[in-house]
Symmetry: D2
Subunit: 351 residues, 4 copies
């Protein structure tokens, strides 16, 4: 292992999101995979045997012979990425934080916990200050990535909130099948079909958007005062969540204003230049029929949100459409970007 | 031809919607196909030769040898169904009305014309009174079917408007590819994709919903005062338009109230019992994940709108999801139902 | 229950094929559903509660309140249809035969058993004579429906075998997702993809085709002497198996000869006129690009096999393409047709 | 323009394959785009205006302002890539050859011409000797890329032919929609469907495979003596042609033999090390259900053919499945690889 790389572990390494972590971290400039951990069913096996590889491409050759570890906090790593299912994450992630690990989780259970930053570096890097409260409880830390759909909404809403004060949001999501993991959605349910329901999703949208755009006051998070109405749908698209979005502001905002603010957004200073950060977190499209998930999900390596069809809304102020890559920016790459921020801010030391 | 059937013609008989008319009218209890007409390119050929059949099933054997007529108003019929493209419909339909034909059109050009009823029998059969004004212009008449998406929205909104006074509508459509005709949407554009734009569609929604739910006062149409914000999307679904819908009312309405009103809706008295009218124009679903286009589009032979996920809306009053069959209720069958209403109301005579 | 209908049971009534049985038998002229049986997990519940309905349409209202029975052979029926998974079918079906029931199974385990007729009424109704040997073992009987893909191949090959003596078959199947049951194929595996493998399928093709086209000699089945090479693929099609087929004969056969033989085929005399039997079991298509699964799977209510692209084969004699409906002719409807044959031949008594 | 890059032109630059050329050549180490040419409809416009970009990603920024040239042979380039439609290619390509250009064409018209090498560098680089005969006719040259499907078949068959002498080939293709260009296949024709016919395709397979595996004797091509029976199908897959393949040899070949030969194949010495040449032109897969188009089409940047399911064939010798990327290896990248070979062999000079 190169001297200057930080050893990391992946919890839930055999699932679909875990595979993405493996794929992305195998060539990361700062991190090096030091441990793959998974449930008892897989632990003790070679990774190549334990894991049915379901994402495009092949597993990195280097990890095939790695023996999968159990989910116990004695991995040779400082930082772990969690791709665990919710019920397991709820138990296991605090065990790792208690044992001193920095946990960057993609799982839902701790997103709503007060002291856990729900983090998108370009949006709310300052929420890292919530970690101070965790230090009273354990030597490690947990930071959470938001829901994959709300990630693609919070990024464009952040600069609009700063500029015009977002008050009301209507959103209809058309979410890709990869958001449900593997095996996930049965083909008999989604081929030639739309499923107008994703359990728990609409509630998460409201809560997580409020936390993401909220402030930290006296060490405590104060959610933003936004009313959100959501319709979550699953559509037969492989990767890439599309959102039809109407937004109401407290202050006047023309289409030109909104377009300019989105186009100029670079995100929090501290987030710029991180290895996984795109130069432009938002890409505005001027074609009448863009963004589209198949054509735009891979923008900036799957890290940029594409925004288009910016036009007035008869009910609120502005309508637009966004597309984000749900398993990259919305899952594995997003958590890695969070980890990079932890390093850049000294929450995880290189040595 | 049976003595007691009304001879009808189909304008634009070779296209996808024209084929649906042929298929449905070949076994209709009141109507009998007496003429198939199409553009010069097809006129003079046998129907079987002029027409590449693209809808499921085979063409009715009886029509295969029928010679396609040109689009001139000398067809052996009293009533014609128009499946013409917009630019042709704009020219040809008035010619038929002027020549004394009753024209039931599925095309868009005359929908917005004041004296042309934009008609869904269960919703606004009383708008037929607008025909009186046409009599001053020509001996025939034109009645129009609405846009396929708005048909599936106006039907559930009608009883809600009567009960609670609809004021605001937010809708996101996820429309099937068959709505764009043949060849229509390129597979390279829609496989594994969503297209967040359908030219002119969002504007039609607002205008047509207002007209459909409006009233006729002193022989003139007065549109309903509803503000609508729409996001129109194309999704990789064959048939069946899905709509995520939020509605705001002038009067209080609980989820239970709304469900009961939808469940009890039967439509205008005059529309009940027409051959193509479903017993229940609305079907309310209580499963959390319904309606879905593949599973619900064929409800009541494609004539019923399925409504589900009725729940409160944080911004307006009620959220719900609707599914309607866009080429049956939303196109050919809808126009046939209109024609049945014309017969039932004496606007077209059996003899 | 109507006096003149035969009470039947459905084993495995809650799965996807079981649901098809329920849907089809709810309106059958000879049979009436008297019992729904399923595994312990479902037994004792109302059918509407035990069963997540996954096929198009709604469950017949009449069965919703029926209490699901366990899989024990004391159902109020003479004849049972089995849609059981293989491992359960292997145990349960003989128990029913031993208890005197006629079992029409769609499951695979007993297809290869010598004394069990593998039956397609139009192809080999005479194989019913194998039942005589079962009588020595139990008072009931088992007849099996073949694999869904081979059903669509054996039907066209039967008349060709009679006319020209089939010797060699090369086939590539492109099978619909519904053939794998529910939840079956993960959408992440099949959207925008082909899976070139279906476990055990290619072996079944060879064995079952031999048995279907074989003869019964002295009460024992003698398989046909056909060499078959198969490539089984799964494609993103909902219903309808497509097969690319090359056939070699012992006797000369031109394209015209083959077309004529296929067109004229009506099947065994005894099979004609059964309620579920199509007038023409084979439909030959002359368009260059037919048959296609979406456009042809529902031919004759899903009971006819469509055959087209009949042309010479550079290696064998004839190439062609076939499409069959895998969950109707190839599963539930096929088993019901077998049951009708049992009644017509006196193996199951009306009284 | 960098001094050491070879200026190239793209004929038919605005179509789907033309766009791929633009995308790939914008970052090529040896070539630099010096001219974009297209039909009169586009000529004179900025490329960004003339071209509706349909492939994933965005057009390279540098070409947006390039003015599209007409298809006349006075472009500032030595070498042109042709993505022209067949009828145009038939006229225009010889004009360019006559004017001294090296033409690397992806179009079909000249593939069958005796003196035009039909070229896959790893398979038959020696066929370049056919160019000598062209020199008698014009100062330029034409080399053609094969049909996209047969490219993916000829590559694995080449080493098998060398080792075991290929005599008979059965193949069923399941071809991606991108093979038909844009707009190409209507979504109403292919969603939830298979189209068992692609005009002219089966005939091309036989002729082109013979030419590719043939020899050049005394300056003339002698086709290989292979009998091929083909079934060409279109399936709802975006990119990546899948082929079910049975092969018969003159010499004995076990599954292990075949696997070893495929695994060890590197292609003609001269082709190795070209910028677009994959290190391993063939990738053998040992999983039972691979290769699959979505998971394997991008192997080696879309340049490697994946081969799997190698098993005995009851009729011929060996069955297998192949997947190739039809618009990269099978179109634009394949033609670029041919151009690289022209440079490496001195047919096109760097200066």
């Amino acid at each position: 292992m190169a001297d200057d790389k930080i050893p990391v572990g992946i919890l839930g390494a055999t699932g679909a999101v875990g595979q993405r972590f493996v794929q992305l971290l195998a060539r990361h400039p700062w991190f090096e995979i030091a441990a793959l951990a998974a449930s008892e069913r897989s632990a003790g096996q070679r990774y190549a045997d334990a894991c049915k590889w379901v994402i495009p491409g092949d597993p990195p050759p280097a990890v095939g012979d790695t023996v999968v570890q159990p989910l116990t906090p004695n991995l040779p790593a400082k930082l772990v990425f969690s791709a665990l299912p919710s019920d397991v994450a709820r138990e296991v992630e605090p065990q790792f934080a208690r044992a001193g690990y920095a946990v960057c989780t993609n799982a839902a259970p701790h997103r709503a916990v007060d002291d856990v930053p729900l983090l998108i570096p370009e949006v709310n890097a300052d929420h890292l200050s919530l970690i101070a409260a965790q230090r009273a409880v354990w030597p490690g830390l947990i930071v959470a990535s938001p829901n994959c759909t709300i990630t693609g909404v919070a990024l464009p809403l952040k600069p609009l909130d700063v500029a015009f004060d977002v008050r009301k949001v209507f959103l209809t999501s058309m979410q890709a099948i990869s958001g449900a993991g593997y095996p996930g959605v049965a083909s008999l349910d989604i081929l030639d079909n739309v499923i107008p329901y994703i359990p728990g999703e609409e509630e998460k949208f409201a809560q997580e958007l409020g936390k993401l755009l909220g402030r930290v006051v006296d060490g405590r998070g104060v959610p933003a005062d936004i009313v959100l109405s959501a319709h979550a749908n699953r559509v037969p698209v492989f990767d890439g969540h599309t959102v039809s979005l109407s937004v109401g502001f407290a202050r006047p905002a023309s289409v030109a204003d909104v377009s300019a603010v989105l186009r100029d957004f670079r995100g929090d200073e501290i987030a710029r230049g991180l290895p996984s950060a795109p130069e432009h977190p938002l890409i505005t499209r001027s074609e009448p029929d863009r963004p589209q998930p198949r054509r735009d999900r891979d923008a900036a390596g799957g890290m940029a949100i594409s925004v288009g069809r910016i036009r007035p809304c008869p009910l609120l102020d502005i309508r637009m459409t966004t597309v984000s890559h749900n398993t990259l920016r919305g899952a594995a790459s997003g958590a890695i970007l969070n980890a990079e921020l932890l390093v850049a801010t000294g929450h995880v030391m290189r040595k």
